[in-house]
């Protein structure tokens, strides 16, 4: 089964699903960050040279150094692994095992930008992230980090209220999840599709058409512990 998820099982048996972020989102985040830093640099340089004249250019260069090398590390280590661009795109830098990224890996992955940016326009980084299954660039591979999607998944609406009915026979966990998912997402489906889906479960409900839909909704209410 093809997926972009990287599954990690903790010693407690909890399975963490890291949704690795690909080159599209990361490139957009980088573009945003770069524009933002460029604006800050221009404003800072203007202010410094207005106050100090030619000496202000030196301070401007220091500002550029900070924006190029410190900004990413500070954002990743102390602001939940998100620079402003990544925050806007809903991305986050984490360690390969899903823990928050720490100082050293963050410094390594940002120092290796020199390699990823190679002909000056991130050609190497782009090609590497296309090849790697988790869309990591060289800096990520060396530092053992990963960029993931941190924003919430599109969720269905709440399960519509209906008098609950117990399931006529026990279902496995993923089957129960499918029943609840159906009740949650059925308002987004056309009535015909709802009935089509509900008819598949004829062996469970013993009904067809609209009656089957309401029956499954009733089961979902029962599974959610509603009266």
């Amino acid at each position: 089964m093809l997926d972009t998820v990287r599954e990690i099982e903790t010693p407690e048996g909890v399975s963490l699903r890291l949704r690795a972020a690909g080159a599209f989102g990361r490139a957009q985040a980088w573009l945003l960050d770069t524009l933002l830093r460029f604006v800050v640099f221009c404003v800072g340089l203007g202010i410094f040279s207005a106050i100090l004249g030619r000496g202000g250019v030196g301070l401007g260069m220091l500002l550029m150094f900070t924006l190029m090398w410190v900004y990413n590390v500070v954002c990743e280590v102390w602001f939940h692994g998100q620079t402003l661009g990544k925050r806007a795109l809903g991305l986050r830098v984490v360690s390969a095992d899903g823990t928050p990224v720490t100082l050293l890996p963050s410094v390594v992955r940002n120092l290796l930008r020199v390699v990823d940016a190679l002909p000056g326009i991130y050609g190497v980084g782009l090609v590497t992230s296309m090849i790697d299954p988790s869309a990591r660039r060289i800096g990520d591979i060396v530092a053992g980090t990963l960029v993931i999607h941190a924003d919430d998944l599109p969720a269905g609406s709440k399960v519509p209220m209906a008098p609950a009915q117990p399931l006529p026979l026990p279902l496995d966990q993923d089957e129960q999840a499918a029943v609840i998912e159906f009740a949650e997402r059925s308002p987004q489906l056309t009535p015909e599709r709802q009935e089509e889906l509900a008819d598949i479960l004829y062996p469970l409900t013993g009904r067809e058409g609209t009656a089957a839909v309401t029956q499954i909704t009733a089961y979902a209410n029962g599974l959610l512990g509603r009266p």
Binding site: D3, T4, A21, P119, I131, A135, G206
Partner: protein, 508 residues
């Protein structure tokens, strides 16, 4: 389409994730996609170059391959759409299938729909669903509504990717030129541009770089669009639920539950605790070894005993072993109080506390009500008091007394008599009162009833004669000191005050 055979994990995704899924699909089927791509596009690309050369229009070498992209897009889309549901086709099959795959929409894409930022999303809908025009328009509205932004964003980002890759190739090529050779060639570059052959060579190098970058990015673009399309259909048609329901149905039918279930549904409406009982049964059965292995266990069997002894020698049975566990260094308040007090103790305290709080609150309410009643009574009493009649002015407290007392004709004598009689304060008061009255007469003004000492000091300044003015001021000052500070002048000073106007009647 057989959904059961889909090779992609179906779940709700954000559109960003859907595009990443496209990239993952491309990665998984890289070989069939790119082999078919090269076989199909490389001859066309070379033909374009040849045409440009023959016609003598070198710009065609750049424009034609760009213009034909919707044609090239068919290849990766065909391979991926087949690869997702069944075996990925070889490049031969892919090329053969192009003849039967509908061409109408590709012609549209090559002509009036050529400049369209939603092409990546439009392609799979048009080529895979193949509907009539009217139906297609309605379908496009439903499909593209939440995705237009993502699809055009994808187009722009792919243009940027192509730019990055082709520029990178050029820069890398430049780096390969030895640095000692670079200045010469750079110097001659300006001159070289004047030679048409050099310009054409540069153009072909550029079109070659662009072809390489297009070969990398265009399948990616199509795959990401296909990912968006798959995700949207999963969302619209709940494919993941469909699959889960089909699996459930198969399980139920295999177990022959269907028939039994119908009887159950008809006869026994409630199976509320079925799940619990099943779980209990499983739990109970796992406790007995004999039941687990479906055969009697013979404890006296020597072989079994030795095997068991061997097994128990394993480090996991009975051997000391180190367990590392995180415990909080300082136990929190909750855990400490829970550990110390048994539950009934806590419950008692809770009840007691609740009772006390109840009493306290009722008491507070009683106090508030009582206070309100007292306040209301007072308010009523104040309301009952007779109001002063309107228009009647309040009388000044002292002046009512003083005004009634007539001033003696010989003010100085009266004052001196009082002063020597030891009634200093009354003497000075009389002197002040008489003096200001006389001053008012002298100034031809009605003495204001509320005039203060400072007012009189102010009025005194308009007395013309200097000696009189100073004496009047001295009298007011003396009275002020006496009245407010209880400081009295000596006899000589009083005599000085009494000599002349205003204490003595002087004819002006």
């Amino acid at each position: 389409m057989q959904l059961e055979r889909i090779g992609v994990a179906l779940r709700p995704r954000t559109s960003q994730e859907a595009m990443d899924l496209g990239m993952a699909m491309l990665r998984a089927h890289a070989r069939p996609v790119w082999s078919a791509w090269l076989v199909f596009t490389l001859p066309i690309f070379l033909a374009c170059q040849l045409l440009a050369w023959v016609l003598g229009m070198p710009w065609l070498a750049l424009v034609l391959p760009w213009w034909l992209r919707p044609l090239f897009d068919r290849i990766p889309l065909y391979v991926l759409s087949r690869a997702v549901f069944e075996q990925a086709p070889s490049w031969r099959e892919t090329l053969k299938a192009q003849r039967t795959w509908p061409w109408g929409r590709t012609f549209a894409g090559l002509t009036w729909l050529r400049v369209d930022t939603n092409r990546s999303l439009r392609l799979p809908m048009e080529l895979l669903e193949g509907m009539a025009a009217k139906q297609r328009r309605a379908r496009w509205r439903v499909l593209s509504r939440p995705l237009v932004g993502a699809a055009s964003g994808l187009t722009w980002i792919c243009i940027a990717f192509e730019l990055v890759i082709s520029l990178s190739l050029c820069i890398f090529a430049m780096w390969l030129v030895p640095s000692e050779a670079l200045p010469d060639s750079m110097r001659s570059l300006n001159q070289a541009f004047t030679i048409p052959a050099f310009r054409h060579a540069l153009l072909w190098i550029a079109s070659g770089a662009i072809y390489v970058s297009m070969s990398i990015v265009e399948p990616l673009y199509v795959a990401a669009g296909f990912g968006l399309y798959l995700n949207r259909r999963t969302q619209l048609e709940a494919w993941d639920i469909d699959l889960a329901f089909r699996r459930l149905r198969e399980r139920l039918l295999e177990a022959g539950v269907g028939v039994a279930l119908l009887i159950c549904v008809l006869c026994l409406p409630s199976f509320a605790h079925a799940a619990d009982t099943r779980a209990d049964a499983a739990h109970a059965s796992s406790q007995n070894i004999a039941e687990v292995f479906h055969q009697p266990v013979n404890d006296k069997d020597a072989l079994f005993a030795s095997e068991a002894a061997y097994v128990y020698r394993d480090a996991r049975f009975g051997q000391p072993h180190k367990v590392q566990r995180w415990v909080p260094r300082i136990p929190t308040m909750d855990t400490r109080s829970n550990a110390v007090s048994p539950s009934w103790f806590g419950a008692m305290f809770a009840n007691l506390g609740a009772g006390l709080l109840n009493v306290l609150l009722w008491g507070l309410l009683a106090i508030v009500v009582g206070a309100l009643m007292v306040f209301a009574l007072r308010y009523i009493r104040i309301k009952k008091l007779p109001l002063p009649e309107p228009g009647e002015r309040p009388k000044p407290l002292r002046s009512s007394v003083m005004h009634d007392m007539p001033l003696p004709d010989d003010l100085a004598a009266a004052v001196r008599e009082l002063w020597h009689g030891g009634r200093h304060r009354e003497a000075l008061a009389l002197l002040y009162r008489g003096s200001v009255q006389r001053a008012a007469t002298a100034l031809r003004m009605q003495p204001p009833i509320d005039a203060t000492e400072s007012d009189w000091l102010h009025y005194a300044r308009s007395v013309e004669d200097q000696a009189r003015r100073e004496r009047l001021i001295a009298i007011v000052r003396t009275w002020q000191f006496a009245a407010y500070a209880d400081r009295y002048p000596g006899d000589a000073d009083v005599d000085a005050l009494l000599s002349g106007w205003p204490a003595q009647q002087v004819v002006p």
